[in-house]
């Protein structure tokens, strides 16, 4: 395999603690190595440029049935927005719900090399894997959803942690999943009755269990197994004014639980897209509670979060939170798709236009950035847009610009129609913090890699890590305008993935050799759980067990993370 020496760049690497010093990065046989290990490398001149590890996205909706519903029912998302294939680059299209090909290429152009699909309905795991397989360059994994699953609801009603863990281990293997995802715990199941769970003590109809029991039980089962990632949560009551108390109540369920993982993570709960969960006030008097939320996060080491920044774009919302999507379509009267996934979950999809002229949308924009700027430890607070819910992932460089430049934020404030009211309801206008590139590297590389339990592969430039390296046309030591940040990070000059140069001089140079990550957790034999699985498939599922498991050609290049949870 080729050797590369990336010379004289300004390196930002939280793993090695390098804060913009000029240094060389060496790649050999797919891995980062000491420069002395190279024999006859191809030299990449990075003089005057920024060098970082490949980006790691901990939460995005990029593959699977609801993403594809979005693509199918939004042909207008591709209108005037398709490019023909040329050279090795394949045909691509779409903005908020891009094709799999564009998804891979656009992430690569931003210097990202690992992207986690945040919600996989187990029954449609095969579809999700087919799309990931067709997404070039990126290493990917998918989180099956557990928070409204009948097995989980029945086991956790009686606090049966061992059975829950055995079921999780079985389902991760069956779906080739990566982590335990929870979406509106109990609420999506309640939606089957036209109801919802609006706080952690609101019981789920029929199952007679509360969201609090589901959340706590899944954290405990996750730690029982010692999985690489923690339980990954989207709490109840998303998007509702006054919901920050539900968020804090959900956070508190992790108190007293310590991580049990050999993979280096420190958290037992990752809470996603916290922007949507940090609202105070009521109805139209909705306001930011980002300081209250960040006070909690900053003082509790066993929690990580991602931002879910609103980018003020036209986008496509999609979530397993079925009742929330119904709420949205009632709000904007645009088209709505709704799905029920048998015993497992549900989902909804609605297009949404976030507008700078809309006071609520402007407040949401402020809240996402406030969370990032209030972060005391950027290793625990990650940059996301809950793609495509709060905005398309292609806006990450714009969010970097806003986080790094008060001038850029002021420009956006000036463009708001209801500037004064927005300032009154938020805290952002008074914040002068400007994140450094080192902090951005923590929020987009080292932090998410560590939280995923993948710091032995991704997130840094230490020898032994995967050869995932991005070079950007950005000189941090020369004067720049805020827009230069966005421009540079939208269009990496070079990108290496597992030691292969996938972008050369801003052009796609290789479709890479993408891998699918999944977790094989081996737990004790559990005949009861196996009996329950067989029975539920016979009685309720529309498919047999034989047509359920993800195997063979669905996974072209799997990378298995083995976990021994037998005891």
């Amino acid at each position: 395999m080729a050797e590369f020496l990336i010379k004289n760049g300004f390196v930002f690497d939280p793993v090695l603690g390098i804060k913009g010093d000029v240094a060389d990065v060496a790649i050999k046989d797919g891995k980062i190595v000491e420069t002395s290990a190279l024999r006859s490398p191809k030299v990449i001149d990075a003089t005057g440029k920024t060098v970082m590890a490949g980006g790691v996205d901990i939460h995005a909706h990029v593959a699977g049935p609801k993403v594809n519903i979005g693509r199918n029912f939004r042909p207008e998302d591709k209108l005037f927005n398709c490019t023909a294939g040329h050279g090795i680059e394949r045909m691509q299209g779409g903005f908020s719900v891009p094709t799999t090909i564009r998804t891979g290429y656009n992430y690569a152009h931003m210097g990202y090399t690992t992207v986690m699909e945040a919600a996989m309905p187990p029954l449609y795991a095969r579809h999700t894997h087919e799309e990931m397989r067709d997404t070039p360059i990126l290493d990917q994994g998918a989180y099956p959803v557990f928070g409204n699953n009948w097995f989980v609801l029945e086991y956790l009603k009686n606090h049966e942690i061992e059975n829950t863990a055995a079921y999780i281990a079985w389902l991760l293997r069956a779906t080739k999943g990566y982590a335990v995802k929870v979406v509106n715990p109990g609420g999506t199941e309640a939606w089957g009755w036209g109801l919802n769970c609006e706080n952690v003590h609101d019981p789920v109809p029929y199952f007679d269990i509360t969201p609090a029991q589901i959340i706590k039980g899944l954290i405990e089962a996750n730690e029982y197994l010692g999985l690489p990632h923690s339980m990954h949560m989207h709490a109840n009551n998303l998007g509702t004014p006054g919901n920050y108390t539900t968020t804090l109540d959900s956070f508190k369920l992790s108190e007293g639980i310590k991580p049990n993982s050999k993979f280096g993570r420190a958290q037992v709960m990752h809470h996603t897209h916290v922007q949507f969960h940090s609202y105070g006030g009521e109805g139209f008097n909705f306001e930011s509670k980002a300081p209250e939320i960040m006070d909690y996060v900053n003082t509790h080491d066993n929690i990580t979060i991602d931002l879910g920044c609103v980018t003020l774009d036209e986008t496509t919302t999609m979530t397993a939170d079925g009742p929330f999507e119904h709420h949205l379509t009632e709000l904007n009267h645009l088209k709505w798709a709704n799905a029920d996934v048998e015993l497992e979950t549900g989902s909804g999809v609605v297009p949404f236009v976030y507008s700078a002229n809309n006071k609520a949308n402007a407040i949401q924009w402020c809240i996402g950035l406030e969370l990032g700027l209030l972060a005391k430890d950027p290793m625990r607070v990650f940059l996301t847009t809950d793609h495509p819910n709060a905005g398309p992932f292609i806006r990450y460089p714009r969010i970097m610009k806003w986080l790094m430049s008060q001038e850029a934020r002021d420009q956006q404030f000036d463009a708001f129609k209801h500037k004064d009211k927005v300032i009154e309801a938020t805290n952002l206008a008074g914040m002068d913090r400007e994140l450094s590139l080192y902090e951005i590297a923590q929020m987009t590389r080292a932090g998410p890699a560590k939280a995923l339990g993948l710091s032995h592969m991704y997130g840094g430039l230490a020898p032994g890590l995967d050869g995932d390296v991005a070079v950007y046309d950005f000189n941090p030591n020369e004067p720049y305008a805020p827009d230069d940040i966005e421009k540079a990070f939208l269009n990496a000059k070079h990108l290496f993935k597992s030691g292969v140069q996938v972008i050369s001089d801003h052009e796609i140079a290789s479709n890479g050799n993408k891998r699918t990550l999944w977790v094989n957790a081996r737990a004790n034999e559990n005949p009861q759980v196996m009996r329950d699985i067989k029975e539920k498939f016979l009685r309720y599922y529309t498919v047999t067990l034989n047509n359920y498991e993800v195997t063979g050609h669905y996974l072209r290049n799997p990378h298995v993370i083995e976990v021994d949870a037998t005891q």
Binding site: E76, D77, L79, L334, P351
Partner: protein
């Protein structure tokens, strides 16, 4: 105003996608530059001059540019797409998407047009002397932003799905229309001087439909209110007023719900 004349000299094997036939693309160019503008057949790119003889010259701006297109255009799509000003006269039938997303200026078609003319139109005027196909003044597939402004007039008949998701502007059809009129509309005005079939105003929230002739089947979501005297498109008459779609949401003004209005002429 300067005039550019295009005369088709060879027909495309498939269909010609010619969204460069606009005053905006031509403005400031001489004939020998206009022939180099791109057109597509399938995935292959060609020059406008591969299919058209070009003579005359364009004005300095779109507003000062008139384009006359001669010959059989029934395989030419996207004439006048996104134009903002100026004028186009097509002396033939034309294919799909005439004046789609048009913002200003005027297009006259001395013949028929196929589907999707005036898709997502925001302003300007399209005058079709013959018949129009389906989805006249409608939204692009999947989109909720249909015709928002401007005027479309059709001398003959129009097809189905007229004014789907229409939000503003005006469409006048001299003859008959097929099924689905103003579906999902939230504004705008549609005048049908001939007969209509069925499904007028399904899921219509606001806007107006006038029908001078017969309606085969009225939607159950429209309720008769009263007879009124109306002056529409220069014709005065007595019309039966229906309001709907009662199954849809409707905003209120001073406590009163605002409905879409369907007027049908009462034969004296």
């Amino acid at each position: 105003m300067e005039t550019v004349t295009l005369t088709i000299k060879s027909q495309p094997g498939l269909f010609l996608e010619a969204d460069s036939i606009t005053p905006d693309a031509f403005a400031g160019k001489k004939a020998e530059e206009i022939v180099d503008l791109p057109v597509y057949v399938g995935r292959e790119q060609f020059r406008l001059g591969d299919f058209f003889e070009v003579s005359g010259r364009a004005g300095a701006t779109p507003a000062e540019t008139k384009i006359v297109v001669n010959g059989d255009l029934s395989r030419v799509k996207y004439i006048g797409m996104k134009m903002t000003a100026g004028e186009i006269v097509a002396n033939s039938n034309a294919d799909m998407y005439v004046g789609a997303w048009m913002q200003g200026g005027k297009i006259t078609v001395n013949g028929n047009v196929d589907a999707f003319a005036g898709t997502g139109m925001k302003g300007g005027e399209i005058a079709i002397k013959g018949n129009a196909g389906n989805y006249l003044g409608a939204a692009y597939r999947g989109d909720w932003r249909g015709m928002a402004g401007g005027k479309i007039s059709v001398g003959g008949n129009a097809g189905s799905d007229l004014g789907t998701f229409m939000n503003g502007g005006e469409i006048v059809v001299g003859g008959d229309v097929d099924v689905h009129v103003a579906t999902h509309a939230e504004g705008g005005k549609i005048v049908i001087k001939g007969n209509a079939k069925s499904r007028l105003g399904g899921q219509m929230v606001e806007g107006e439909i006038y029908v001078f002739g017969n309606i085969d089947t009225m939607m159950p979501g429209f309720a008769y209110r009263q007879d009124v005297d109306v002056d529409v498109d220069g014709i005065k008459g007595r019309f039966a007023l229906y309001e709907g779609d009662l199954g849809e949401r409707h905003r209120k003004r001073k406590g009163q719900a605002i409905y879409a209005r369907l007027y049908q002429r009462i034969n004296a």
